[in-house]
Structures are given as C-alpha cells and as structure tokens.
Symmetry: C2
C-alpha cells in the first residue's frame, strides 16, 4: 500500500471526502453525555464522585487537587524539563501578549462618544486530556492565553487515574502556567463540573481545551450556558510544495502529523510530478524508522493524499477549500504566497519552519481549527478569554438632533415605548 | 399589581432567578429541528420546498428572491424611510469600521518572524425573522458588519408569507446594506439551507441573526459544521440610578425594554429609596399610555424588579452578576463608573443616551449577549465575520538553536516523528 496520488481537477472531490469523514453517528454518545451532564447539574458533587468511581475507577474524597498533592507532583518532575516548560511558556506569553486588545473610544461628532470596552472573562475552565498520553504543551497553550487575558480564576480539570492521582506533569505545567485550581475530573463529568459548578466551586463562564468524543459532545451540549472554544477534530497538515522543495523533509512532516492518530490527515499539494513521486517513496522509507508505524499505516494510506495540480494557484484554491489546520509552504518565496491563503489555522513558511516548531515552541497557539472550520474560526487566542462591551454616550444636543429619526424607526417596528423613551427627554 | 421591589443582600438570589428563567424543556423542539435539518442535509431542495409548503403554507418555484421581486419590493417602500435606513447604515458602518483588525507581524529574535493574518469569512448567512413584526434594523446590524469585514457573499434568509412573498422592507434593507442574495426560507429549514446548501447554492461558513426557538435550536444543532454567532434569549435592560436620576426617564426606559415581549426583563438597581418609590409609581402611570400595555403587565410584573442596594458599589456587584444585555448608567459622572462594569453587552452613559438610541441609530451593534452570557461573549461585530491564521517563520539558525528543545518536548509526549521532522533538517 502507499499514499494515494490524485490528479486534481474538481473541488467537489474535496467536499465529498470531508463529508465522509464527518458522518459519524454520535447518538449513543450524546445520550450518555446528556444524562451525565443533567445529573451533575441537578445533583452536584455526589453525582460527580459517582461518575469518577464508575468511569475512572477511582475513589476520591475531594475532586480538588490539594496543595500537598501539588507539592508532591512538582518533586517528581525532571527540573530540566521544568526549565524547558518555562522557556516555552515565555515564548507563548510573548506572542499572545501581542494579541491583547485595548479598550478604545472615538468621537464621531460633537457630543457623541462611542467606545468598546475590552475586559477579561473572569472565570475560565481548561480541559486537559489524560489517559494514554500526557500533553504538557496543551496545558500551556490554554492556560497562558487565559492568564495574558487577565482571567481571575483559571481552573484546570483532567482525568484522575484509578489510583486517585492526577498526572504530575499536568500538575506541574498547570501551576507553572498560572492555573489557580486543578480538578480531578475527566470526560463529560469534567465538563459538567466546570459548567454548572458544585458546592464550594462556582461555575466557570467559558471552557476551552481538547478531549475525546465525550468531552467534545459535552462541550457542545453545555454551549450557551457557558462559552466554549471549538469542537476539535483529528489533526491535519497540508504541505504546499513546488519543485524546489526537499522530498525528504516533506515526507518527514507528513509523517509527523499522521502519527497523532489513525484519523489524522496529511496532504501534499504540489505542481511537480517529480516531487510527488519522490515523496511517496520517502514516506514509505521513513515510516519504517518510526515507532508509531502501526498508526501511520492507517492515517497515511486512508486519510493522506498527494494532489498533483497544474499550477500553484490551482493548488491554493484547493488549500482554501480544505482549510487545513496546519499549512506548510515549502515553496520559493513563501512570504509572497501568503496573500493566496484565505483559510488555514496556522501557516508555516519555508524549509526551517516545520509544524512541530509550532506545536511546542514558537509561541502561536497550537489549538487550531480542524476539519475545514478554519473557514470560519481562528486559533485559540487571548481574544477567546476576553469579551467586549459597546459604550454609547450622546449629550442633549446630539440626542435632540437624532430624536425624530429614532422615533420613526420605532414606529416602523411597532414599538411605541421606544419612541416615548426618547420623547420624554424633551418634554 | 406592580413591579417587584427587592432589598438586595445576596448574590445567590440572582443566580436562582436566572436558573428559573432558563429551565425550559426543549426536547420536543429539538426533535423537530433535528429531523428537519437532517432531512434537508440529505435531500436538499425538494425537502426545503416541502417544509415551505407544510410550515409556511406557501408554494414557491424557487427559494431565491428574484431581481424582479427585489425591484417590486423597492418600489413599495417609503423613500423617506429608505433615506433614514441609509443614514443609520452610515452610522453602523462608521462604528464597525473601527473594529476591523489588521494583520500584523513581529520580529521576536533574529531569524524569527511571527504574525497573525486576519481575513474575512468568505460566505456568510444572515437569518432575519419575519412573521409578526419586521425589523429592518436587524438586517442592518447583521449585514453591515459582514460587509465591513469584507465577506464576498452575504446571503439573507427570511420567512416567506403564505402569498409566496417576502416582506418588502426586509428586501430593501438587505439590498441597501449589501446582501448579495435573499432567500425565502424561515425557521429551522432556513438555517439548514444556509448550513448545508442546496443545488446551485453553496453552504455558508457562518450564520448570524436572531430567531424563535426553532431557529435558535437549529443554530445550536448545526454549530461545528458552520460557525454561529450566539444563542439569543429575551431582551433585557438594567438601569443603575443614583438619587440624581429622573424617575420619569427611568420608568420610560424600563417600559421601552419590557414592551419587546412577555419574557423581556427590565431591572432597576438604585441606592435611593426615593427613586425606587417614584419609579414604581411612574411605571404604573406610563404603562397606561402604551399600546403594548398587555405585554408590559407580564414582563414588568413577572420579569422586572427594582433592587435597592446599600451603596452603588454593591449595585455594580449585582450588575456584574446579572451581566445584562443593556446597561444604562443614570448616575452622576457615569464615565467614572465604567471601570466598575465588568459584564454587560452595551453600556449607555447618562441621561441623553437611552437604550433605543442604540437599537436603531448610534452605530454599535444591537445584537448583544443576553441571559448572563455577557460574562463570556461580546456584541456582534466585525470580528464575528473575520478569522485569524497564525504565521510562523524561522530561519535555519533560529531552528537549529531550538531543535534540541523541541525534540525533548516531542519525546516527552511520545511522538518520535515530531522529533524526526526537526532532526532531518540538520542531517
């Protein structure tokens, strides 16, 4: 088997491919999720403790990680890795500080003052997956933007092990990044605990962070009562390469993305047949070197593809239709091609900007829109942890000038109390 | 009966009041909504036409409002009102232009280029309610920000009457604001048509605009496949008044909000017993003058309240817990009090800035977070019609410097392909 090669001619091909990947029946999951969330909303802490026992196999007295547990965890983590986490945190902080919006005001006309007040979301919850793998980078990428935004309370929740303990690296990363509290609750019960609170733990206003299908559906279910970031799907990379690109590096980058899980998608778009052929060979060669070869066989051969296009501009039409989570531009003068990119989560320019640089290090967020949602959504950012209020001030003359016009609008919409509210100011 | 007066001492009072208002059983609506949306997703235009027949009682050949229909509609609308719409549009445009974010980049260290590219959402759908009332202001408040953002296609959809026609004022406002297409599909079938498209009509990427429970639940159901703005609830005003405030105007403003519908909420927070008493009397007096008195009796007496607080700072704690859609500050030096407001959709400062000024005229958006969601969300704005991509460029030296650190992270997370993608660049 090998990675599929497609001669590209029809955008509808892509639309169909996406639809197939999406159409998973979630009815069973949704029913379970809703019963868990509703139960916790109604019954609070006892219900949460039950689910921890039933689903995580753990008996805990409190769902809050204690100061003693935090101290114990910090002592088990390699100090060299802590230093690395601190350095990564500094990079993330610096980039995200650039995103922080200021309140502003503007005088449009005499007596008219209009503004926009930007304030932090006061209390946020961060979901951090546990289970098979530990992702300290996920902790940093969620907690740091909340901290930069100025959130007062940043509550991390993560699954508890059967031993009643939480992964020490998750604890260390959370504390270092600025979390104010850490909870031992994973899954849909974790999302419900954040959204509706329990005794002595107030509900948060917004929840971010990745998770499995239960977490994702629980987030969608509670959305509206609290804010959520996005519903994340499998990870994706799209590499756009011209004939100047190095097939060895392209193959390595496709593999790096595809190793995440069997549904991960790695796509090459190129105008060079030679590059396409060489990448196919390189992928097969390099796969043999990788420890996660069993995953790569699924993800590369089922979800991967090499599109050969007549020219790069057609390639960018395809990219914008795919709206990939990660986009690498391995082309001559990649900066010049930025204007052709309309839909992508993060864009990596040139040979020395491989995608893993963004996962851990460079500073921009690695929580990115997947599955085509970059057409309408953005990387997680400081803006996800802030909100705006508009501010309006008219003085007497300014309102008098507008009074009749506002009243006419109110008449047109059949709301005579609206007109009266203006009129009574000049009686 | 009269408006309820509460001596305020406990934030939990508010939390409970909110919960009661929220807990409406939506299971029946959700089942209907999901079957409509799934049907249209699967069967396309014939299904849409069926629902138009079944639910709107109309037989139409095409769901697209034709150029002839647009022309005919424009001829029926009062030219004076068109001029007013144009003036309101100009105000909305000017304010929203101030919200438009620029792409930026930043050189953090030698060889490191980090940026954020901001681009419009290319294709958006706007839902405009029909039925009982016509709200041209809603059209402007949704279409203009999309236009300012730079969206290529702005598709308005609105319910069709039994005569197969759409309200001419909605058509006029849509064209004037910059809509590129108008559809005759209301309800959940309207949302499904926008989200999944039909033959010759591509799906949009994001849907905004208010609607009834069917529309709101349909938006929540399609969220994830497309973006949505927010789930809007009943309208609200909170007036904060000190003893300098004029009870006649406060009463008029409470009434203006409460006339929207029976669930609308009008709340006064004051540190003056005298003001509280006078407003109560004024409300009863002014209600008699209003055409929508039958609505006011429900909304003011059931959803309204006057909170008397010991001092204004306590009042602002209450305001921030309520997180009202509209907040009027009828106090001495209202600008100085802005720093006490953390959660509110729009803030109106002083005696000559009544809420209806914001509904129609001043320029800031009137689509605002309701039901406490101002704790985590913002007014509709240009930012809702744009999205961001992060951009990362490292040169060879910069990546070499970071290489070992990135590899260590990858090791820690068990992803050896990530490490290889870095390593191969220096082999």
């Amino acid at each position: 088997m090998q990675i599929q090669q497609i001669t590209y001619n029809d955008l509808n091909q892509i639309a169909r491919a996406r639809k197939q990947r999406e159409s998973q029946d979630l009815t069973d999951i949704d029913e379970k999720v809703q019963s868990i969330v509703d139960d916790i909303k109604l019954n609070g802490e006892p219900a949460v403790l039950n689910y921890i026992k039933e689903l995580d196999g753990a008996e805990v007295d409190s769902i809050i990680v204690s100061d003693e547990e935090i101290q114990a965890a910090l002592e088990t983590v390699d100090p060299n890795f802590i230093k690395l986490l601190e350095e990564a945190k500094a990079n993330i902080e610096k980039y995200h500080a650039l995103q922080k919006e200021k309140s502003w005001y503007h005088h449009e006309a005499s007596g008219v003052w209009l503004g926009q007040q930007v304030t932090p979301i006061e209390r946020v919850g961060i979901y951090v997956p546990g289970g098979k793998a530990v992702y300290p980078s996920t902790v940093l990428m969620n907690v740091v933007p909340a901290k930069v935004a100025g959130a007062n309370e940043i509550i991390v929740t993560t699954p508890v092990g059967a031993d009643g303990k939480v992964n020490p690296l998750t604890i260390a990363a959370s504390k270092l990044a600025g979390a104010t509290q850490i909870l031992k609750v994973g899954g849909a019960h974790g999302i419900a605990t954040l959204a509706y609170g329990i005794k002595h733990l107030k509900p948060v206003y917004k929840i971010t962070g990745p998770g499995n299908a239960f977490v994702a559906r629980a987030k969608k279910y509670v959305f509206g009562d609290v804010g959520i970031d996005m519903i994340a799907g499998p990870s994706e990379v799209c590499v756009v390469a011209d004939k100047t690109a190095n097939p060895t590096l392209i193959a390595a980058d496709l593999i790096a993305q595809a190793e995440h899980d069997e549904m991960a998608s790695a796509i090459l778009v190129t105008d060079s047949h030679q590059v396409a052929t060489n990448v196919k060979d390189e992928v097969n060669r390099q796969m043999e070197e990788r420890t996660r070869k069993h995953i790569l066989q699924h993800s590369l051969f089922n979800q991967g593809a090499i599109y050969v296009v007549s020219d790069l501009q057609v390639g960018f039409d395809l990219v914008n239709e795919l709206a990939p989570e990660h986009l690498e531009l391995l082309v001559r003068n990649p900066f010049e091609k930025l204007s052709s990119v309309r839909n992508a989560g993060a864009i990596f320019l040139g040979e020395y900007s491989p995608e893993p640089l963004g996962d851990y290090w460079a500073g921009p967020n690695h929580t990115l829109p997947t599955n085509g949602t970059a057409k309408f959504s953005s990387p997680l950012g400081v803006y996800d942890f802030m909100k705006k209020s508009s501010v309006i001030h008219y003085d007497q003359d300014a309102l008098r000038e507008a009074a009749n016009k506002i009243e006419r609008f109110a008449d047109e919409e059949g709301l005579d109390g609206h007109g009266a509210s203006i009129r009574k100011r000049f009686e």
